[in-house]
Each structure stands twice: as structure tokens, then as C-alpha cells.
């Protein structure tokens, strides 16, 4: 019997390839469908946010839960970020005899990039997944339907307040995280040196300018909005029962993290164009 490849084997190979190509295309299509739905969801947010009734009490409650409750985690990671960045940068700067530039270099890195992005990623992990899971479980247990049939607007009460709270709270958390990171850097500098608090912060503020701080803070509003929006979108539109709860939490973190990097990339381009 011949062991050579027969011509009839070729269509089999094609059949194996065809479904994977189709599934690839369907994944791309479903990605763009999801992006379209998120855009529609954000338009609905814009429409609802200006329409009375305004849910101030719920906004304050969500700001407390989203902002204040995230502070310990943000503070710890911020301190470690500043400390580690300083310890890691010192040997390289020492090779060039530029150790005295350490406070300036670390503070500019933290304020411009590391602080906003890392804080936003931690925020996406904690708050984005929390919002996604909470809203999905409300959907599964018919709590959102219950609000709707009682004549209340669940979108305004649940979604608008959470998106607004995360938009407003992330910039505040980033500013606090930056300050704690710079303090962490001060501790890092003093592990192998002796720099006074006054001198360290004098160097930090001499290095930082308005063009470092302002664009970095502005982009955090967009980060916060995106984390809230994506968490609410996946939670509010979840399906498939309890399985959907896990999926909503997971998708919220993945999409929000990816969006943070995309927004950051755009923000850097826009900033470099104007400044």
C-alpha cells in the first residue's frame, strides 16, 4: 500500500482550516459589535446624566464605596511603587554620577505616567470587577427588573451614579497615590543615603511643572469614566445566570485595562502635540 499523500487528503486539510477562519472572523465581528454596544451605552449615559431626577445621595454613597474604600489598596501600592522605582533606578543613575537627579527623575515618572496608569489598573481590578459582578448579580436576581417595574429608572440610579463616582474618584486617588509614591521614593532615597525631607521635596517641586501635572490629571478622568462605563456595561447587560456574573467581572477588568492603555497612548500623543 502506498504511503504517499493522496490528492483526496487536501480537502480534509481545507475543512480543518475553514472553521478556524470562520471563528476568527466571528470573534472580530463580535468584538466590533461589543464596541458598538458600549458606545450606545455611553450615549445613553450622557443623555441620562443631565435629565432629572438627580441621585445625589446614591452618588455620595458610591463615591464613598468606590473612592474611600479603595484608598488603602491604592496607598500601599503607591508607596511600594515609589520605593521600588527609586531603589531600581539608583544603580543606573550612580553609574553616570547622577544620583542627585533621583528625586526629580522618579517624581516626573510617577506624576506623568506610572502613578496614573498603575493606579488606574489597580482601580480597574478592584472597582471595575466589583461593579461588573454587582450589577450582573442584580440582573440575575431580578433586582434591576424590580426597580424598573416599580416605576424607577434603574439606569439612572445604578449606572449613572457608579460611572460618575468612578470618574470623580479616580483622579482624587491618583493625586493621593502620587503623593504617597513620592514619599515612598523619599524613603527609598534614604535607605542608602541621607537626604533631608526639605531638600528632597525641593528637588521634586523644582522638577515638576504644570505641563507634567495637568495632562496627567485630566487623563485620569477618562480612565475613571472608562472603568465605570465598562464595569456597568458588562454587569447591566449580563446573561446566562451565575456564569454571567463571573464573565461580567472578568470582561470588565480585561476591557477596562486594555482601554486604559489605549487612552494613555492617545493622551500622550495629544499632550505632545500641545505642549
Amino acid at each position: 500500500m502506498s504511503t504517499e499523500l493522496q490528492p483526496t487528503d487536501i480537502p480534509v486539510v481545507e475543512n480543518v482550516m475553514q472553521p478556524s477562519k470562520a471563528s476568527y472572523l466571528s470573534k472580530v465581528r463580535s468584538f466590533f459589535e461589543e464596541v458598538t454596544l458600549i458606545t450606545k451605552f455611553s450615549f445613553r449615559f450622557v443623555k441620562e446624566v443631565f435629565r432629572p431626577r438627580y441621585e445625589f445621595n446614591e452618588l455620595i454613597k458610591q463615591s464613598y464605596l468606590i473612592g474611600y474604600r479603595s484608598f488603602p489598596l491604592i496607598a500601599i501600592t503607591g508607596f511600594i511603587m515609589g520605593l521600588v522605582l527609586t531603589i531600581q533606578s539608583r544603580p543606573t543613575l550612580a553609574q553616570f554620577g547622577a544620583e542627585s537627579w533621583l528625586p526629580a527623575m522618579v517624581s516626573v515618572s510617577i506624576v506623568r505616567e506610572m502613578g496614573p496608569v498603575i493606579t488606574a489598573l489597580i482601580f480597574a481590578g478592584k472597582v471595575g470587577s466589583g461593579i461588573g459582578a454587582e450589577l450582573a448579580s442584580m440582573k440575575v436576581t431580578e433586582q434591576i427588573d424590580a426597580m424598573e417595574v416599580s416605576g424607577n429608572n434603574p439606569f439612572k440610579y445604578i449606572v449613572v451614579t457608579r460611572i460618575l463616582a468612578s470618574t470623580l474618584m479616580l483622579p482624587a486617588l491618583v493625586i493621593l497615590s502620587d503623593a504617597i509614591s513620592i514619599y515612598g521614593s523619599f524613603v527609598g532615597v534614604n535607605i542608602k543615603g541621607d537626604v533631608s525631607f526639605h531638600l528632597f521635596f525641593l528637588q521634586v517641586f523644582q522638577a515638576l511643572s504644570f505641563s507634567d501635572i495637568f495632562p496627567a490629571v485630566i487623563k485620569t478622568f477618562f480612565f475613571g469614566f472608562t472603568v465605570g462605563l465598562i464595569g456597568c456595561f458588562f454587569g447591566y447587560n449580563s446573561s446566562n445566570g451565575t456564569e454571567g456574573v463571573g464573565k461580567a467581572a472578568n470582561s470588565s477588568v480585561v476591557f477596562a485595562s486594555l482601554s486604559i492603555f489605549i487612552i494613555d497612548m492617545i493622551a500622550v500623543q495629544v499632550t505632545s502635540f500641545f505642549l
Binding site: D145, V149, S150, G151
Partner: protein
């Protein structure tokens, strides 16, 4: 019975290629308890969700309190919804709120009502369902039967003219099921509400029904009082009561 407060005519609804409701026609009079009976998946829950606008029907006319809900905008629909109470299968209590806050939630639009009056209203409805002591508890601290009672209290707080019960006794033990069924009857008498009760619990139907419908494959297969249907010669209808 009085004039009809709910009239449904030719209601159809499909999900993907499966037609769940195939031209349902029914009416409910003021103060009447209508029990809708049927196997799981026969379209009972879809029917009442269409009624309050949670699911949009494909075809058909739904009149609530003499208003066709099809042409209503969100605000107009919400005004109609305020006259309707909905007890969900899972009770759908808001997990992050206490029982008091759950009951106060539907009253948020009554801004001019003094807090003391709202508190009195909350206590009154809780007393009517026999759960005054649970006012400061969280939903997670309540048993299944207690959750159903609180859910019922939340629907009663707006003094609705129509209450929709979606499987009110599902997941409860026979004694608690009986208590909930009697509570439904008490609510009907005390508040003079009309009710649509979706169930497949024969005992619940026996206690609560003024009239019954049996749904089969998206259509109304039988209609009558509990006694008429339970004594039916039709093998399929009588199989529900065995």
C-alpha cells in the same frame, strides 16, 4: 366582577425561532384573582413580563387601566407601573439595602411626604405581612418565606390596584407556601387588588383563584374555576390536579 383593568388580545412573543406566546387573549376584572397555571417553559412568566413592559411583545394589544401600553413613552409607562405591584419569583430584594430601605425605595418620588409618615407606612405594610421585627435586617438574614413576605410588603407599599405574582410559592416548604397563599388572599380582601398569579402549585391555586387559565404551548388550553378545572374530563387538564 367589575370592569376589566387588564385586557390582553392576540399577544405573541418569540425568542429566536421559538414562539412562546401564540395569540394569548385574556382579561382581569377589578378585585379578581386570576391564576395562570401551566408547565415550566409554557410562557407564563413571559406573559406577565410583557404586561409590565419588561419584555416587548411581537404582536398584540395590552390594555392596562384602559390605556394601551404600546404607545406610552417611559414616563407614561412608569405612571401606569406605579399602579402595579410585581412579586418576583426570587422576591428580588435589593441586597445592599435593609428591609426598611427596600420598602422606602418605591416611595422615593413622594418628596413632600414627611419621613414620619413614610416610616408609619413601612411599619404598616410590614405588620400586614407579619414581619415587623425584620425592619432593620438585611435580605441575606431572611429565610425564603420571609423574603417573599418582604417582597410582597414592597409591592403593597404603593397600594397597587393590580399585583402580579411570579411563582409566589416556589422553593418554599408546604407550610410556608400555604401561609403565602393565604397572605395573597388576605391582601386581595384588605386592599381590594386584582391579581394575576403565575404558579404550578395546585394548593396555591386552590386557595387563591377566583378563576384559572391553563397555558399549553403558548396558548390558553383551558379556563374555569378551580373546581371546574380540577373535575375536568380532559386527561391533560386533570393531570395537573392529580
Amino acid at each position: 366582577m367589575d370592569t376589566a383593568i387588564v385586557t390582553i388580545d392576540g399577544l405573541r412573543k418569540s425568542f429566536l425561532n421559538k414562539e412562546v406566546l401564540k395569540g394569548i387573549k385574556l382579561s382581569v376584572a377589578k378585585g379578581e384573582n386570576l391564576v395562570i397555571f401551566g408547565k415550566s417553559g409554557s410562557g407564563k412568566s413571559v406573559l406577565i413580563k410583557c404586561l409590565v413592559g419588561l419584555i416587548e411583545p411581537d404582536e398584540g394589544k395590552i390594555m392596562l387601566f384602559e390605556k394601551n401600553i404600546e404607545g406610552l413613552n417611559e414616563e407614561e409607562l412608569n405612571i401606569v407601573r406605579k399602579k402595579i405591584g410585581f412579586l418576583f419569583q426570587s422576591a428580588a430584594l435589593y441586597d445592599s439595602m435593609t428591609v426598611r430601605e427596600n420598602l422606602q425605595f418605591p416611595l422615593r418620588d413622594l418628596k413632600k411626604t414627611p419621613p414620619a409618615e413614610i416610616e408609619a407606612l413601612v411599619k404598616e405594610v410590614l405588620k400586614n405581612v407579619g414581619l415587623e421585627e425584620a425592619i432593620d435586617k438585611m435580605p441575606s438574614d431572611l429565610s425564603g418565606g420571609m423574603r417573599k413576605r418582604v417582597g410582597l410588603a414592597r409591592t403593597l407599599i404603593l397600594k397597587p390596584e393590580l399585583i402580579l405574582y411570579d411563582e409566589p410559592t416556589t422553593g418554599l416548604d408546604p407550610i410556608t407556601s400555604k401561609e403565602i397563599s393565604h397572605l395573597i388572599l388576605d391582601v386581595q380582601k384588605k386592599y381590594n387588588t386584582a391579581s394575576i398569579i403565575i404558579t404550578h402549585d395546585v394548593e396555591c391555586a386552590r386557595i387563591t383563584a377566583n378563576r384559572m387559565l391553563i397555558i399549553k404551548d403558548g396558548t390558553i388550553a383551558a379556563e374555569g374555576t378551580f373546581t371546574e378545572l380540577s373535575e375536568s374530563k380532559d386527561e391533560w387538564v386533570s393531570s395537573f390536579f392529580k
